[in-house]
Symmetry: C2
Subunit: 365 residues, 2 copies
């Protein structure tokens, strides 16, 4: 088992991210080792519960924890204030006090929703994240961002709230659909490109082991990404500086998602296309002298069945959509561009023509 310690000086808080296989059946013991006391409530959804709820509850019972369960239907639409409100009702009616520990067992939706409830019930109760998708393990469970959606926009109601423990059991990846694995891989390679050349090279040289969900290698992959993201979060908890680098690939990615009304691309697929485009832009702009890793990235995308071209979408519309992005401060788009493999920078003045040319190279019209 790998142990990564997040030390957040801003909040005088430290917590562990535990990564390995066979961890869910040890949860009760791990909670005890981390001095957690109190009643426990597990928030999960039926898709995840069918596989992992029983071993989790067994383990909690064996360690002497009383555990309640709230199941939320599966889907982004349930990451809402209404669903949070139902969880509050359950907590209040069952008289859970401020020493309660909320366990989020699931992917990003469950983690964000349960995290928001933990942040706000009785002004904050204990939170343990057990992410069960690759995307949640390498991305959303780290950094303390919790939120629910507003009908008019994603993550508009939320908080920064750190968990007391993250348990990433890579065994859960065995039941993860291929397209969900691919979505996580987009963030994995992103971490490598912007901050760690070595990690990128190691990960992309063992794609077969990833597709097979080899536990030892997946633990290496998840731990590597956690270390990179944890470093960024420690240095910039509230996203005022270098945390912006994590938006690499997300500028055009968001634009593609919006333009196609979130129906054509999964988030990871859109981000992958956004990264490919950003690398091309960086070469054209002149800040990236050489981009041999472009081919590696393209091969990776293809081997996970992800698209590498943007056929049919108008380049002009993709660019127009960029301006509406919430991260476009004062009407300026903040581009994250690689300057070499393992290093990226923020660039704000890119000619529109240059971006549209790149999009057309990739199949846009």
């Amino acid at each position: 088992m790998e142990r990564i310690r997040l030390n957040l000086t801003e909040q005088c808080r430290t917590y562990d991210i535990l990564i390995g296989d066979g961890l869910i059946p040890k949860t009760g013991m791990l909670l005890k080792e981390h001095q957690m006391k109190g009643r426990v409530v597990v928030i999960t959804n039926p898709t995840v519960a069918q596989w992992y709820l029983e071993p989790l509850l067994k383990s909690l019972a064996a360690a002497g924890y009383e555990a309640g369960v709230v199941q939320v239907p599966d889907g982004e639409v349930y990451k809402s204030l209404e669903e949070a409100s139902k969880i509050y009702d359950f907590l209040v009616e069952s008289r859970y006090d401020r020493k309660t520990i909320l366990i989020a067992l699931g992917g990003g939706v469950i983690g964000d929703l349960a995290g928001f409830v933990a942040a706000t019930y009785m002004r904050g109760i204990g939170l343990v994240q057990i992410p069960t998708t690759l995307l949640a393990q390498v991305d959303s469970s780290i950094g303390g961002k919790v939120a629910v959606n507003h009908p008019n926009g994603k993550n508009l109601i939320g908080a920064f709230y750190q968990p007391r423990l993250v348990i990433s059991d890579v065994d859960t990846l065995k039941t993860l659909p291929d397209r969900e694995l691919a979505a996580g891989m987009a963030e994995v390679v992103k971490h490598g490109i912007i901050l760690d050349e070595n990690y990128f090279s190691l990960v992309t040289s063992e794609l077969e082991r990833i597709r097979e969900r080899d536990p030892a290698f997946m633990a290496f992959v998840v731990a590597g990404s956690c270390r990179i993201k944890a470093d960024v979060v420690i240095n910039d908890e509230k996203e005022t500086g270098i945390r912006a680098l994590l938006n690499f690939g997300h500028t055009i990615g968001h634009s593609l998602e919006s333009l196609t009304q979130y129906t054509m691309y999964k988030h990871g697929e859109a981000v992958m296309l956004g990264m490919l485009a950003a690398i091309r832009v960086a070469v054209r702009f002149g800040c990236l002298p050489q981009a041999s890793f472009y081919d590696t990235l393209e091969t990776t995308a293809k081997s996970f069945g992800m698209p590498v071209t943007i056929p049919g979408l108008p380049a002009r519309d993709i660019y127009d959509m960029l301006m509406g992005d919430k991260k476009a401060e004062y009407g300026k788009i903040r581009w994250i561009l690689p300057v070499r493999l393992g290093k990226a920078e923020i660039v704000t003045d890119l000619p529109r023509e240059m971006v549209e040319t790149v999009l057309r190279e990739m199949g846009a019209v």
Copy 2:
């Protein structure tokens, strides 16, 4: 104008509490002096708005701030998730971004509700408190507790979230009903009894000036309480240690409120009775050798028209209700008892008979 600086090391945050008369018409300038940028939204209620909204908006406009207004109906029942949700809708629909500043203009209900929205909209936006009741000026606006009520309990959904500025304009006390002034006075004398003998003596020797809302003296009263509470909050932001002392009078106070279904006593009145009872208990228990300040407290209560006896309520029921209090950890009641004027301690093992005897001395049956 008095300026008290709260330095919260836990959150690397510092903010000012400004106290004086004629401050609301200077709000725009004060915001500018504190380097606040962005669009402004004022949350208030019609009772407060009739007096203070126009001068506030004038002042904001004069300083170049664009300001929206959301009015919430007057009353504790509107400190709800539903009302917070309506404010989110307004903010989203009018495209307020993460640089928005929310101004809470009103008493504790407005401060708590607007504070909760500020804590959670886009993971936290700027918050300025302009408390307009004595209770809010000396108590709820300081310390960063924000919350909404759940149908089954007060303040069950909330956060710790510090404002960027507090502006306490004592002119607002001129329109405050007498019973509301009295409610604030209960907290004022509480601060003196538990932490500052001198403050208690000065305040209780000038009751006439308080009843007249003399601006200079009210500024002294508010500043004194703010200093005491700020000291406590700085040392114990999340209420794990000495912040518990602020619950002096609240143990029996809450019990009296619950037992009478919140219809007989205002919060301040119940706290006043709780303090009188706690002093009597302290004498009987032996931790308080001499309680000459009991008479001063009783005189103060009477001069503000507050009850000093508990006729008709059964002592046994009052005690039983104590056990259901959310602060009774592991079934133990944590009493805050004075050991001399200006100093209090936590006591957990008080005989039931002793407490009931005191309640009967005060008129309980």
